[in-house]
């Protein structure tokens, strides 16, 4: 039986070139709309995650290394940061400071691991660290032995793998989930393990055989205190002591402004793509409707109603559009997934996969945009055709 559905599919098959052009236009539009959406949301998700995962209100670093500290936190560029003398104990006495915890940042000397730029080793005290330590504990990681290491998601290592840093062999105790920031290319060890490295005479030039070294002090402020007020208190107490004090919200603000730049760029690109796709689809639909005016007239002459005719034509476009959208979305996912780490490393900004539920929502958005364009174009084209009397349409030669 010849149904509207079969009619539409036969039109697609018989007009292969026209169908292919339509499919390709939708495919390109969907790839651009969906691709820029996923890219932007990955970045925004990275920034949000970074804000949450720094976990501290204030960060204190040696002033000589302040740029390095930002890079290590958000971009994953490995480096070694050292206080001449840790200010942790004195910081505890500043008004408004609730908790203080220290971290030691060491860059690997050799390319023993996954990253060509070297791996960032971070020594933490899993019990007292309220930033990373707390987060690790939430993931069920309660202890960290002297010969154990926890690696970031982008290190390419599995649990129980063995890896050597500074002539020490560590067993991978856990692999963290993606954070979208520098932690993804970092490895976490205990202070006990770090002391063993820094006290080693062969690294005397770097660490002077010292133990208890520190790179960064993370501060949690008391309730009722603004982070910025406490930051100012610290600066006034430690004036000229060679430290830089940052409130993490200020650091995040800079990130947000950088991401915003990309966001506006993507809005412009998205608007341009949608406009281009709308014009192209609109033109194609209008042209093909115009070409098929005599088909409309012919169907009207044998008593097929307008509703049925538009149903046949719309079904044809809907099938092609759906195929184009699915192809666009699938190809974007295929492209983005394997290149996720490469994009993250080349961006120098937090970048975290948004998850498949969000991807599904963005797919839906892409579908809706395309279908709105289709419905508008088809409605207007059909309205223009239907202004003519059936006899005039039927006499038109294709």
């Amino acid at each position: 039986m010849l149904t509207a559905n079969k009619f539409a599919l036969q039109n697609i098959y018989h007009q292969r070139f026209r169908s292919l052009i339509f499919f390709f236009l939708v495919f390109i539009a969907s790839t651009c709309i969906f691709g820029t959406d996923v890219f932007m949301e990955n970045m925004e998700s990275g920034v949000k995650y970074a804000e949450n995962k720094i976990g501290a209100d204030i960060i204190v670093v040696p002033s000589d290394y302040s740029d390095d500290a930002k890079e290590v936190l958000f971009e994953g560029n490995a480096c070694t940061i050292l206080f001449r003398e840790s200010p942790a104990e004195e910081l505890k006495t500043v008004e408004g400071v609730k908790h203080v915890s220290e971290q030691l940042y060491l860059e690997t000397l050799k390319m023993d691991c996954c990253s060509a730029a070297g791996v960032q080793i971070i020594a933490i005290d899993i019990h007292s660290d309220f930033a990373v330590g707390e987060w690790l504990k939430n993931k069920g990681i309660e202890t960290l032995g002297a010969d154990e290491i926890i690696v970031g998601s982008d290190c390419g290592l599995q649990v129980d793998d063995k890896i050597g840093f500074y002539d020490n062999i560590f067993r991978v105790a856990a692999v963290l989930e993606e954070t979208g920031m520098g932690y993804d290319e970092s490895a976490f060890i205990s202070f006990e393990a770090a002391d063993k490295i820094t006290a080693d005479p062969q690294y005397k030039d770097m660490f002077d055989e010292k133990t208890g070294l520190s790179s960064m002090v993370l501060i949690d402020v008391d309730e009722g205190y603004e982070a910025d007020t406490v930051r100012k208190n610290i600066i006034s107490n430690f004036y000229n002591d060679g430290i830089s004090v940052y409130s993490t919200s200020k650091l995040a603000e800079k990130l947000v402004s950088q991401v915003n730049y990309f966001r506006y760029l993507s809005y412009i690109m998205n608007a341009f793509v949608i406009l281009l796709a709308a014009v192209a689809l609109f033109s194609l639909i209008t042209i093909t409707f115009h070409q098929r005016r005599n088909h409309v007239g012919s169907l009207l002459s044998v008593g097929i109603g307008k509703k049925k005719i538009i149903q046949v034509f719309l079904l044809e476009y809907i099938y092609l559009m759906f195929a184009g959208i699915i192809a666009g979305i699938v190809l974007t996912i295929i492209f983005f997934m394997p290149l996720h780490s490469v994009i993250k490393q080349s961006l120098n900004l937090p970048y975290k996969f948004i998850g498949f539920d969000r991807v599904a929502l963005l797919s839906l958005k892409t579908i809706v945009i395309n279908f709105v364009i289709l419905l508008l174009a088809a409605s207007l084209s059909f309205y223009r055709i239907m202004k003519y009397e059936p006899a005039i349409l039927a006499e038109e030669q294709a």
């Binding site: 039986m1 036969q10 049925k308 030669q397």
Partner: protein, 217 residues
Amino acid sequence: MKGEIKLMNLRVDNISKKFGKNGLKETGFLLEQGDYLCITGQSGCGKTTLLNIVSGMLYPDTGDVYLDDKSIFNDMKEKERTQLRNHTIGYMMQGNSLIPDLTVWQNIVCPIELTGKRADKTEVEKLLERLGIDNVCESYPSEISGGEYRRVLLARILMLDTGILLVDEPTSNLDEKSAVIVREVLNEIHVKKGTSLIVVTHDKDFFSYNPKRLNLE
């Protein structure tokens, strides 16, 4: 060609339509149930225009068309006029009005099946055989000859089983053997079913069936 068909009187009341210098001058006639009318006239006198108006596919400048005293332009909405062409006034147009993306078979059953009914396969096969086009049913319109094309158009409209049939130049481009078949088929449905016929033609052989004649000037 099955079931009971709806027979009605058709009254054409002083209709006219201008297209530049040409067009249809004021014309009127009454087509009673079972009448057979042949319309002749020179090119440009408005024969096709007359059929377009009678089928409700074109508004006249003046006059009206009545189906059992109901005006098809004033008493019917466009949707009703469209439905009319599916069950009351069948119209075989002169031009290339087959859908190029459908096969001959699909073109023939399309007016029935797209309105939700199922075409009787045996009826279609019989009709195709009777019109001598059973060998092209899986072909596309672009793959058949001009003569076959005309017969497919006729088959498409005959399948609708309407009480009134408007046929525009049914034997043009046909060889004599095919033209005879077409004339006989039209006469058969006129005689056996009482279908009212309006045939626009230059083919004088239609006059052998003693139709009413209307010559347009």
